[in-house]
């Protein structure tokens, strides 16, 4: 578990350690309330669009290219925000198409953000008690804790233990505080990466 200030230290060091030359690099976003900043980034996803009839496409002038896009561009805004109740970072996101309309849930889980295909349900399976590790994260809808805008988020309840377990395996006595915090956040991303592309 992390405190809010440890989270900020870890996040800033994590950002500094990682390649900023990438379109999907994380950056730190300071909020109006000091100490309540969060990590954010924007990633681009695509989904194929059915070809439509182009016969009656209007053309304005000869010097304008007529585009026939094969894919629709989806924008995913991602945030890593400190959860005070669970004392761990929590992953918030929105996915919208080019006009700003959010994707419905059924499309979100099919999008390239999620790594796990959602099972089709055609085959029989065993009962919950025999599947102690759940494969799909607890996805919920709620307002971004700092921005106040509606978001999806992965419930942070299970992450602390998972991160702790990974930390036990890698932890070294020689680490200073910042190294430990950054490694903690990296492990957190690793846990998150089991479910979504981060």
């Amino acid at each position: 578990m992390l405190s809010r200030s440890q989270f900020e230290i870890a996040a800033k060091a994590f950002i500094a350690n990682h390649d900023s030359h990438s379109h999907s690099a994380w950056s730190w976003f300071d909020s109006a309330r000091p100490g309540y900043g969060f990590m954010s980034r924007t990633t681009i996803h695509t989904r194929p669009i059915p070809a439509h009839d182009l016969a009656d496409e209007e053309t304005e002038d000869d010097a304008t290219v007529t585009i026939h896009p094969t894919h629709e561009q989806l924008t995913c805004k991602q945030y890593v925000v400190y959860s005070a109740s669970f004392q761990v970072p929590a992953f918030y996101f929105t996915i919208h198409n080019s006009n700003g309309s959010p994707l419905p849930l059924s499309e979100i889980v099919k999008s390239s953000l999620f790594k796990l295909g959602v099972p089709d349900g055609s085959h029989a399976t065993t009962f919950a008690l025999t599947m102690p590790t759940s494969s799909f994260p607890l996805l919920s809808q709620g307002d971004h804790p700092i921005l106040g805008t509606p978001c999806w988020y992965l419930h942070p309840c299970e992450s602390a233990n998972a991160v702790q377990e990974l930390m036990r395996e890698v932890q070294q006595d020689t680490w200073d505080e910042i190294t430990r915090l950054v490694r903690w956040l990296e492990m957190w991303f690793m846990v998150l990466g089991g479910a979504v592309s981060v």
Partner: protein
């Protein structure tokens, strides 16, 4: 030479923009439709790898508007992006939006850009755009249309040769130097000049054209711009106005221009190609005179259908509280499937239309649990009104519902469900169900009323998939038992004693069951008497007014969970009941053990709260049953209401019809002949 074709801008709006617009409209703009300034940004053209096909997809020539669009001071241009400003106009009605004079609005903006070029020689407005909107705040729908005015060159620009990689014109170190110099700018440059000096290159804002290119051979002059297009052979939209700018201000030296389409936000790793493009453009024809009059402009954005027309954004799924509630309910259920039971067919449960006969204690709890399963159609039937004793035990009612004689329970319960979850389709019908042992008064009015009530019940049962029998008297269950059996509906029956309950499903109709299969019984199959007036002939399960308070919740939920298990079973209403002694093993799939994905589908469950114990039972159907035997069902199907009236009015009719009367006589005789064990174990409370 081929004419140069430009990739038009396509807009990307982030939901934050709509949130900001909503606030702005409510708090600041109100009914004003004055023009405001908005800011957007664009960056170098990008490609992304498609996860499915693995191919690189060139993203559109996009310009994005986000939450900072209305705040000029705070508008932070994302790293590597350049800013573009626009004129924003919001209309108050869809009619105003549609009726707006688009041509004149467009020309005004084009005029602004042109004047800025001529009077200030600034490039600041070259990417100036127009955005008109109408926000339907009640429906969370936003209509909008962008225009990115670009001047049309006449004659058109032609390409001398072809577009090639910038690496074919500049050395890697020169391109690296351009990259470094761009990064050093205080304000990101959307347009810039490149001068090649023997080895090195230098860059400069376009505004310094004359001094920067003085004494520079034309082969060392290149004009450049941050190119949002990723298409190899068509530069992005901003180039159009840059060319118009140069032609207007420096006609003598710009009939041939060397163009660098800058697409490398990040320096290129050793061994990889630079993504920027290079080409030489020429204006055909003779010495073009300096353009004094404004050239024609084009640039309304097309909608996704490829038409010149407005677009609409629907934010209801993220903003409409009703939609949010619906999604949250869906999500909750889907998580059950995704995380625990992938084989669970949620839609099958949610799509089951449920008729609840009785809106009392059981009805309330059954409805709430059905709602938890995502069931969207719940219909109540009850004849009573809410009384003062109800709210504490019947969770769909409250104190206010009891006032003024009390609201009709069925309607009140339905209204309550809608308050709890607006996405539900709940209705209530005030109806008293005619029953055996309660003769219909022999007058035309009463008979007509009874007939209407029966018809209504028949229609309701027809319209639903599952019927819950949750009334407080035994004989009122008879009519729906018969109708539902005849129509092949799922019937779930729940009855309460003081600290015991019965929850059961009725078996399928005899004529529909395959030969050799044990048909499961109905509520009346164990009886050796026909249902009658329970005021005089009371059995324990009717004493519902005195029950332990937690019992109804347990029985109600049990009934719903039995329905859920039943509809998940591939055999549905024909699912065989597990033998009472069989335990399912959690280590093996329930379906493989004869159950549904949720587990076994018992026939009856008897609960004993005194021992906190539930007991599954199987009861075979009885071929003389007054509720489900073919004799009764066929008589009902043949004579309809007339047959039912006989059953209501004549105490002996059903017993005679089924032959129970003879059996009863035999039974009495047999009973008298045996020495009855009063403390016998087989004695139960039902």
């Amino acid at each position: 030479m081929p004419i140069v074709q430009f990739t038009p801008f396509s807009s990307i709006i982030q939901p934050d923009f709509w949130h900001k617009l909503t606030n702005l409209k409510i708090d600041v703009l109100k009914l004003s439709d004055d023009a405001l300034t908005v800011s957007g940004s664009y960056s170098t053209g990008r490609t992304v790898k498609d996860r499915e096909s693995g191919q690189e997809i060139a993203l559109g020539c996009t310009i994005a508007l986000g939450d900072g669009a209305f705040d000029e001071r705070e508008f932070g241009v994302p790293q590597g992006s350049v800013r573009a400003n626009g004129t924003f106009k919001n209309y108050n009605t869809i009619e105003d939006f549609k009726a707006a004079d688009k041509t004149s609005l467009f020309n005004q903006e084009a005029e602004k850009i042109w004047n800025q070029i001529l009077t200030t020689r600034s490039t600041a407005l070259l990417t100036h755009f127009l955005l008109i909107t109408y926000a339907d705040l009640k429906k969370y729908k936003y209509y909008y249309w962008f225009a990115f005015p670009a001047f049309v060159a006449k004659p058109a620009w032609e390409l001398n040769g072809e577009w090639k990689g910038a690496g074919g014109e500049f050395s890697s170190s020169q391109l690296g130097s351009i990259h470094t110099q761009l990064k050093l700018q205080k304000e990101p440059l959307a347009f810039f000049l490149v001068r090649t000096d023997t080895q090195d290159v230098s860059i400069s804002p376009v505004e310094e054209y004359e001094t920067f290119f003085a004494n520079t051979p034309s082969s060392a002059q290149t004009i450049a711009f941050v190119d949002p297009s990723a298409a190899p052979d068509s530069p992005g939209w901003p180039l159009r106005n840059l060319l118009a700018y140069l032609r207007a201000l420096y006609p003598a030296t710009t009939s041939t221009v060397r163009v660098l389409c800058w697409r490398d936000e990040h320096p290129v790793v050793e061994g990889l190609e630079w993504r920027s493009r290079f080409g030489v453009l020429e204006v055909g024809g003779a010495e073009a005179a300096a353009a004094v009059t404004r050239p024609q402009a084009v640039g309304w954005e097309k909608n996704p259908q490829g038409k010149l027309g407005p677009r609409a954004a629907d934010l209801a799924p993220m903003m409409d509280p009703k939609r949010l509630a619906e999604q949250a309910v869906d999500l909750n259920l889907k998580l059950m499937r995704w995380r625990i039971l992938p084989a669970l067919d949620l839609e099958k449960v949610a799509g089951t239309k449920c008729l609840l006969l009785g809106a009392g204690t059981l009805g309330c709890y059954v409805a709430r649990t059905l709602m938890g399963w995502g069931v969207r159609t719940i219909t109540f039937v009850d004849s009573a009104r809410v009384s003062f004793s109800n709210p504490v035990r019947q969770p769909l009612f409250e104190f206010a519902d009891c006032l003024d004689g009390g609201k009709p329970k069925a309607e009140c319960a339905a209204a309550s469900l809608k308050r709890i979850f607006p996405g539900i389709n709940a209705t209530g019908h005030q109806l008293s169900i005619p029953m055996p042992g309660h003769p219909i008064p022999p007058n035309p009015t009463s008979l007509a009323q009874a007939k209407a009530d029966v018809e209504k019940l028949e229609r309701l049962i027809d319209e639903h998939d599952a019927v819950f029998l949750l009334m407080d008297s035994r004989e009122s269950r008879w009519l729906p038992t018969v109708i539902s059996a005849a129509k092949g509906k799922i019937v779930l029956n729940a009855a309460l004693g003081f600290d015991t309950f019965l929850v059961m499903r009725h078996g399928a109709r005899a004529s529909s069951v395959k030969e050799g299969v044990t048909r499961l019984g109905c509520y009346y199959c164990n009886d050796i008497v026909a249902p009658a007036d329970s005021l005089t002939d009371r059995t324990l399960d009717q004493m519902c007014t005195v029950t332990r308070p937690g019992l109804a919740a347990i029985a109600g939920s049990t009934a719903v969970e039995l329905l859920a298990s039943l509809v998940q079973h591939p055999d549905g209403i024909y699912a065989a009941a597990p033998p009472p002694a069989q335990d399912l093993h959690a280590t093996q799939s329930y379906a493989e053990q004869g159950g549904s994905v949720l587990g076994s589908v018992p026939h009856q469950l008897r609960g004993f709260l005194a021992q906190f114990r539930n007991m599954p039972l199987v009861g075979a159907a009885y071929d003389r049953c007054t509720g489900c035997s073919e004799t009764v069902l066929q008589a009902y199907e043949k004579d309809g209401f007339d047959m039912l009236v006989k059953a209501f009015n004549d105490q002996k009719y059903l017993e005679t019809l089924t032959g129970l009367d003879k059996l009863f006589d035999e039974g009495e005789a047999a009973l008298e002949a045996v020495d009855w064990d009063e403390d016998g174990e087989g004695d139960d409370d039902f």
